[in-house]
Symmetry: C2
Subunit: 388 residues, 2 copies
C-alpha cells in the first residue's frame, strides 16, 4: 500500500430480500418533498414502483416524479431534472433504477443549487461542488456500475459527442442504498451480462496498474473469482438468488474506492468504451467488452508480469514450464473464451458502430496515465480498429 491516501465511505447499505422495508427508517431522516427519479417504466411493470410509492405515502411524503431517465443520461435531461427538483423544492432525490438513474440523480443533486453551466463546471473543468447538495438515496434494480456507493456520475452530451464521468466527493455519495437481489431478476439477459462485464471491467481497470504488491490486488482477485463463479451460475439460471446476490454485492465493492487504494488505476477500457457509447448509444457494459480484448492484448507487453499473475490467480493457469508471456497470454485466452461463452459483445460492429465513426471515436477518447502504457492517437486507433 504505497503512497498516502484516505478512505471514507459513508453510504449505508441495506441488503437482502427485506431491504426495501428500511425505507421506513431512512425516509424519516429527510423532509416531506421527494423527487422520485426512474427510467423507462420497467419498475412499473415489475411492481417495484408501486411498493416504493406505498412506502413514500405511508411515510407522509409528497412525491414529485422525474421519469424517463435514459440508459446513457444526457445533459439535457439533467437540466430538466434540475428544473423539476427546484420546482419541487426537493428534500431528497430517490433514484429507483440502475447505474444510469443513480448517476443522473447525483448530477441533479449537485446542480440544483448551482448557478453555473453544469456541463462546463463538472464534466469539462471537473470542478468540485461549491453549493449545497440535495441528498440522494437509491433503490437498485440493475447492478454493474457501483453507483450506489460511490460519487461517480457519467453524463452524455450528444451535441459535443462526449460521454464523460465526474467522480464527486463523499458528500455526494448516496446516503443510503437498498440492494434486493430479487429486484434484478426480471432484467433481460443482455442487460444482466452487460452489467456483469461492467463489474469485471471495474475490477480489472484498477487491478491492471502498478508493479507493487498490495492488498488491494488480493482483494480484487477475490472479487474476480467470486464474480466469475456466480456469473457462470446466473447465466444458466437467472433466478438463482445466491448467485445474483453475490454479483450484486461484488458490483458494489468493485467500485466503491476500496480496491483502488494504494494504486494508480488505469480506466482506459472505460475511456474507449465511453467514446464508443457517445457515438452508438450502446449498452455501457457491451462497449467495454467489445474493446477489452484488443486493448489488453495491445498493452500486455508493457505489464506482462501482472497479466501472468492474473492468469494464475484468477484463471488457474498452470505456470510450470512456461514463459511469463505464455502464462499471460493463456490467461487472456481463457478470459476471451469465458466472455464469448457468457454472450458478451466482442466486436464494435455488433453495437452499430461503423468505420466512418472511427475518426470521431478516436478523437473522443480521453487518455489516462495510470496503466501500463499511455496511449496516443495511433494506439487508440489501433485498439479500436482491432475490434471491428
Amino acid at each position: 500500500m504505497i503512497g498516502n491516501f484516505t478512505y471514507c465511505n459513508p453510504t449505508k447499505l441495506y441488503f437482502g430480500k427485506n431491504a426495501l422495508e428500511s425505507l421506513n427508517s431512512e425516509l424519516s431522516k429527510y423532509g416531506k418533498k421527494v423527487l422520485l427519479v426512474y427510467g423507462g417504466g420497467s419498475i412499473k411493470r415489475n411492481g417495484i414502483y408501486d411498493k416504493v410509492i406505498a412506502l413514500l405515502e405511508a411515510n407522509g411524503k409528497t412525491v414529485f416524479e422525474d421519469a424517463g431517465v435514459m440508459p446513457n443520461p444526457t445533459i439535457e435531461k439533467v437540466k430538466e431534472g434540475v428544473a423539476r427538483a427546484r420546482a419541487a423544492k426537493a428534500d431528497l432525490i430517490l433514484a429507483v433504477g440502475g447505474g444510469s438513474v443513480c448517476d443522473y440523480a447525483k448530477a441533479v443533486s449537485v446542480s440544483v443549487n448551482c448557478d453555473e453551466d453544469i456541463w462546463e463546471k463538472y464534466f469539462i473543468r471537473f470542478e468540485d461542488v461549491s453549493c449545497e447538495i440535495v441528498p440522494v438515496g437509491c433503490v437498485l434494480t440493475m447492478v454493474g456500475t457501483g453507483s450506489e456507493m460511490n460519487g461517480g456520475s457519467v453524463i452524455t452530451n450528444h451535441d459535443e459527442k462526449l460521454k464523460i464521468g465526474h467522480v464527486f466527493g463523499e458528500n455526494v455519495f448516496p446516503k443510503f442504498a437498498i440492494l434486493n437481489p430479487e429486484f434484478t431478476f426480471t432484467l433481460p439477459k443482455y442487460q444482466m451480462i452487460s452489467g456483469i462485464y461492467d463489474i469485471m471491467s471495474h475490477i480489472l481497470e484498477q487491478y491492471f496498474s502498478g508493479t507493487d504488491d498490495n492488498t488491494s490486488d488480493y482483494l480484487s482477485e477475490g472479487l474476480l473469482r467470486s464474480l466469475i463463479h456466480s456469473a457462470n451460475i446466473a447465466v444458466e439460471d437467472p433466478l438463482d438468488y445466491e448467485a445474483r446476490s453475490n454479483i450484486m454485492w461484488t458490483a458494489t465493492w468493485a467500485l466503491n474506492t476500496l480496491i483502488a487504494k494504494g494504486k494508480t488505476t488505469d480506466w482506459m477500457v472505460h475511456m474507449l468504451g465511453q467514446a464508443v457509447g457517445a457515438y452508438t448509444d450502446a449498452t455501457h457494459g457491451m462497449t467495454l467488452s467489445a474493446v477489452t480484448m484488443p486493448y489488453y492484448r495491445y498493452i500486455l507487453p508493457y505489464g506482462t508480469a501482472k497479466f501472468a499473475r492474473y492468469a494464475i490467480n484468477v484463471w488457474g493457469v498452470e505456470p510450470a514450464n512456461k514463459t511469463e508471456e505464455e502464462i499471460a497470454c493463456e490467461g487472456l485466452d481463457r478470459m476471451e473464451a469465458w466472455m464469448k461463452k457468457l454472450g458478451l459483445v466482442m466486436h464494435l460492429t455488433d453495437l452499430g458502430a461503423t468505420r466512418e465513426m472511427l475518426d470521431g471515436m478516436v478523437k473522443s477518447t480521453l487518455t489516462k496515465d495510470g496503466g501500463y502504457k499511455v496511449l496516443d492517437e495511433t494506439d487508440i486507433r489501433a485498439v479500436l480498429s482491432a475490434s471491428f
Copy 2:
C-alpha cells in the same frame, strides 16, 4: 450473500507516511478539551507522543492525559478513565496506541455519560448505548485488533476472571483513524507476530462458518493470501514498508464488519483465547495461536468441505487424487508449519498457563453457535487440554 444485513462504516481512515498531518483537519471538528489516552510509554520513547502533543497544541487544544492503559485493559482502569474524562469535560478522546488503547477509549466513550454499572450493562447484559457518547479518534501504533474501524471493545475483569468483548454500533466506531505503517516499525517482534496472528484469526473465524458460497469468503481468501505473503517478508525484515503497510491495511479490513456480511461467523478461537487471557494476562494474539490448531483439528470433521477449500485456495494444496479430508488436513498441516516458522506460541504452557487453571478456563469460555460445531464443556476441555 444469504440473509438480510446492513453495512455502514463511517470511520475515516488516513493512511501512509504523512497520515498524522491529517490531525490538523480532524481536530478542527471538535471542541478544545482532548483526553489523550495511551499505554505504557513506548510512544514517548519512539517520538510519536511529542508529534501528537505538538499537533494538539498547534490546534489550540487543552490536553488531559490518561496514561497507563494496559495490554488487556481492566474495568477498574476504564472507571478511572471515565472519571478523568468527566473531570476534563472531554470533547474528544484521542487514543494513541494499539487495539487495547482503542478498545479502552471506546469503553470510556460510552460510559462518560452513563449512570449505570458499566461492567454489568455492557459486558454482562450486552446492552446498547443509551447515553451521549464522547467521540473517539485513533492514532494506531500496533496492528491486529482492527479496533480502529469497528465498534469492538474487549475489557477484562480480574475479580470475576472474565475477559469479554462488546461490539458497539456504528455511532461508537472511531470517527477517524490515522494509520502510518512506520509507527509500527519499533514494535518488538513478539508483538508484531502476535498482531499478525490476531489478524489471521479474525479472518478465519468469519471464514469458517456457513456452507453457502458467498463473496465474503472470496474476499477473506484474498486478505489471507495478502497477509501470509506480507508476514513472510515482515518477519525477515520488519522495516519493509510495503509488507508492514499491507499488514496494517489487512488488519483493518479483517475486522471492520465487511467479511462477516452474509455469514454467521464462529469466534470460538477468540472465546477460548479470551478465557486463557483472563487467567494468564498473556499477549492476546498468542492466546489465539496457542488454541488454534487443537480447535481446528477438533472441528474439522464438522466442516471438512470448507477446510478443504481453505487448503486449496489459501495454502495452494494440490487436490488431485486426495479425499476431501486429506486435502483439509494437509491445509492445516501447512498452516501449522507456517505458524511455527513465524514464531507463534503453539502451547498454553508457553504463556504461563498451568493445568490447575484448566477448570477455571473451561468455565470462563463463552460459547457461540455460528461455527461448524457448538462446543460443550467436554469439547472445550478437550481443546484446551490438547494445547498443553
